[in-house]
């Protein structure tokens, strides 16, 4: 049993790139679900169009990195319009159905052989993060850390920028939700008809919320691509969205730091359980399982944990039960 590796990967996960990526995705979901009561089950789609927008702009069209980021953001805003216009005037389930369908469709389009010249088929796109790491002015090449814990200069740069963006997004959410605009969103979550009766344009507010959450999630897509140096279609599956929801509910919906804390706890647990299982299987403590089966077991455990969490404590760690938009309307 390699306890040191298990320990160090687990500690890394608490502040690592996964936490940044999923923390951003979850902050977006928190705006949708936590504050506005919108059931966007296609957060992965926002991340996918962001990652691919960046990758395709840089790799296929040879445009600068900044243009790639702008294209990604524009694509996410467009996607929000596309999914919001037909559904935001209808009951909650319709948005859920359309977003989950749109996310799958976008994945299918990205992985299709027909568009292979643009999106690169199931291999995806790689080689677009050079400019990002070239901007590193803080860290000289080397290793930063204590003992077995630490990152190289590239990861340090990514994590510094990543956590800066996470904190910035938290600040934006904090300020917005104190503003009159944010109070209208919460009012929509509580009683849409009452807000409409007060003369507010509910559809427009919902659309703005969908866009804002999508754009924040979109940064998660960028960081995913930048860390891994590639984007592949199958990464952006339903599981990604579902993880973001688990994180939001774990941390506490409608809380500014809920998604961030949720992401840390989630990834620590996820990485720990995965590594522990893999080590146990490799050392023959679990004879009925092969190493390939560790993946599904870990995902199944997330599913189970999610169900138990929602049944037993839907407000998560920091949330307030009265603020969770899960009652029938």
């Amino acid at each position: 049993m390699d306890w040191l590796t298990i320990l160090s990967t687990t500690v890394h996960a608490a502040i690592g790139w996964e936490t940044v990526v999923y923390g951003l995705a979850a902050i977006g979901v928190n705006i949708h679900f936590g504050y506005t009561g919108l059931l966007n089950f296609g957060q992965a789609a926002f991340m996918a169009v962001a990652g691919y927008g960046l990758a395709v702009t840089v790799v296929v069209f040879n445009l600068p990195f900044v243009v790639g980021v702008l294209v990604g953001l524009a694509a996410a805003a467009l996607l929000a319009l596309l999914m919001g216009i037909p559904t935001l005037q209808l009951r909650a389930d319709y948005l859920a159905i359309v977003t989950i369908a749109a996310a799958e469709i976008i994945r299918l389009v990205f992985r299709s052989v027909y568009f292979k010249d643009i999106f690169g088929g199931s291999d995806g796109r790689r080689g677009f993060n050079g400019d990002f790491y070239a901007m590193n002015f803080l860290y000289d090449p080397g290793r930063y850390g204590i003992g077995p814990f630490g990152f190289d200069e590239r990861t340090m740069w990514l994590l510094t920028v990543g956590w800066a963006v996470v904190l910035l997004c938290c600040l934006v959410v904090f300020l917005l939700m104190r503003s009159p605009w944010g109070r209208v969103l919460k009012a929509i979550r509580e009683d849409e008809d009452a807000v409409r009766a007060l003369g507010k344009n509910v559809f427009a507010y919902k659309m703005q919320s969908l866009m804002l959450g999508g754009i924040i999630g979109c940064f998660g897509g960028f960081f995913y691509g930048l860390y891994n140096g590639s984007v592949q279609p199958d990464v952006f599956g339903t599981e990604m969205t579902f993880f973001a929801y688990t994180i939001v509910i774990l941390g506490g919906a409608a809380r500014v730091f809920g998604p961030v804390v949720g992401a840390m706890i989630f990834w620590v647990l996820f990485v720990f359980v995965g590594n522990l299982l893999a080590e146990l299987v490799a050392n023959g403590y679990i004879p009925f399982m092969t190493n390939i089966q560790v993946g599904p077991v870990r995902y199944a455990l997330v599913g189970l944990g999610f169900i138990l969490l929602l049944v037993a404590r839907p407000q998560g760690i920091f949330g307030d039960k009265r603020e969770i938009a899960i009652d029938a309307r």
Binding site: R91, A96, T238, T290, A328
Partner: protein, 428 residues
């Protein structure tokens, strides 16, 4: 109650034991290239494939077997050139796009799948008035037939989804996994136990029905009793979907499988349509089941009670209908029908742990088109979606045909959100 829990656990344990067998045949020691050749869902037997190194040095030749599968193991990882011998294909087949050479990369200890999409050969110049016109219309007729088959499978899934939605208000995102579950149970009895597919399918439908009953009795029913809202249940259903899908992957493995029986059948020709007899049988069975369920909903006491509960649960309860009993029956029937849909889907395509997830999109499109919560709307909508996306492959590459389903969804929601047979008050 406790006895029910014990029985259920014992049953699940048995199932796990049963399914653990085939799962070990994972793709462990594999380094090379493989692929499956299919023409309109039917495997292509005897096609020759030559693998050479990037420089052109011959490595190995392979011929597809009765399942259309070929497999070449290589010593060295690296880039290879795969050439499909067009002359060895059936006379009516050609490679889509015309390019019969692929250059995949083999990674150490991994098998790469090489895709050759085949399509029926069309006569040059498809002007409707010319001789090519008959080919076009033949193709359209063929695709319509396949679309009806797909549409009926979607309808089976949609019926269960719609009935459960109608009676409990739950949009069940785990319904796709119920479909996969049915297929996998049938696979376990068929391949694991060597039972012929028809009895295996009947067993699977019964087992899945029992599981559906158990699911409502032990899980969803308890949640309803606690007063959990429908939105909460909808989110929980996504968790259930992830849980079930990954459990299925754990037992079944990530690979694609086929049933033992009826895999390859010589096609028979009826008018412009050529299809394996199993497809005609499948359509017959699907239609029969749909008609029986329809009649049961219209004529029997339980069916009428179910419609009453769907209309207004409180009113139904106050007029003496046992709402919980009705919901339990609906769950049992819904899961059993979903299992049948899974078997039919596995028969007409193949089995994979994501099969239910993939078709769930089409089911949602069908249900929305027909009107959420209306059983007969679900049938009509599903048929339209099935035929629409299958016929759309005349113009759209087949891997992108599901995109059409999303287009249907969005257009319906824009112009007639209540669907074909739905009512206005359900949507707002």
């Amino acid at each position: 109650m406790r006895r029910a829990v014990i029985a259920f656990t014992a049953f699940l344990g048995g199932l796990i034991f049963l399914l653990a067998g085939p799962a070990h045949a994972g793709p462990a020691d594999c380094q090379g290239l493989r692929g499956t050749l299919k023409l309109q869902g039917q495997p292509v037997n005897g096609a020759k494939i030559a693998v050479t190194t990037e420089g052109g040095q011959p490595v190995k030749e392979a011929t597809t077997n009765a399942q259309g599968i070929w497999d070449v193991q290589v010593e060295q990882p690296g880039k290879y050139k795969v050439t499909l011998d067009v002359g060895s294909l059936p006379q009516n087949a050609e490679v889509r796009g015309g390019n019969n050479v692929r250059t995949p990369t083999v990674y150490e200890g991994n098998c790469s799948t090489v895709l050759f999409a085949l399509q029926p050969k069309a006569a040059p110049g498809q002007a409707p008035q010319s001789d090519g016109g008959t080919t076009f219309w033949q193709q359209a007729a063929q695709l319509t037939f396949e679309g009806v088959n797909l549409g009926l499978i979607i309808a089976l899934g949609a019926l269960g989804l719609s009935l459960i939605y109608g009676t409990t208000g739950l949009t069940n995102f785990a319904h796709g996994e119920l479909i996969t579950l049915g297929a996998v149970i049938a696979y376990a009895f068929n391949v694991g136990f060597g039972i012929q597919l028809i009895p295996a399918a009947i067993i699977a439908v019964i087992v899945a029905g029992a599981l559906g009953y158990g699911q409502d009795r032990l899980f969803w029913g308890q949640l309803r009793k606690r007063g959990t809202g429908t939105i909460a249940m909808m989110i929980i259903s996504i968790g259930v979907a992830i849980l079930l899908r990954n459990l299925l992957q754990f037992f079944f493995g990530p690979q694609t499988e086929n049933f033992n029986d009826y895999v390859t059948q010589p096609g028979i020709t009826v008018g412009p349509i050529t299809a394996a007899p199993k497809n005609f049988w499948a359509i017959g069975i699907e239609l029969t089941v749909l008609v029986i369920v329809g009649i049961a909903l219209m004529k029997t006491r339980t069916g009428k009670a179910a419609r009453a509960v769907a209309d207004n649960p409180a009113l139904a309860a106050s007029s003496g209908i046992n709402v919980d009993r009705v919901i339990r029956i609906i769950w049992t029937a819904g899961a059993a029908i979903a299992a049948l849909a899974g078997v039919m889907l596995g028969l007409s395509q193949s089995l994979k742990f994501t099969m239910g997830q993939d078709i769930l999109l089409l089911i949602f499109a069908g249900v929305t088109l027909g009107g959420l919560g209306t059983a007969f709307g679900a049938l009509v909508g599903s048929l339209v979606v099935g035929v629409f996306i299958q016929v759309s492959t005349l113009w759209v590459p087949p891997e992108l045909k599901s995109v059409g389903a999303l287009a249907v969804l969005i257009i319906v929601l824009l112009f007639r959100p209540q669907g074909i047979l739905g009512r206005r008050e359900r949507i707002g």
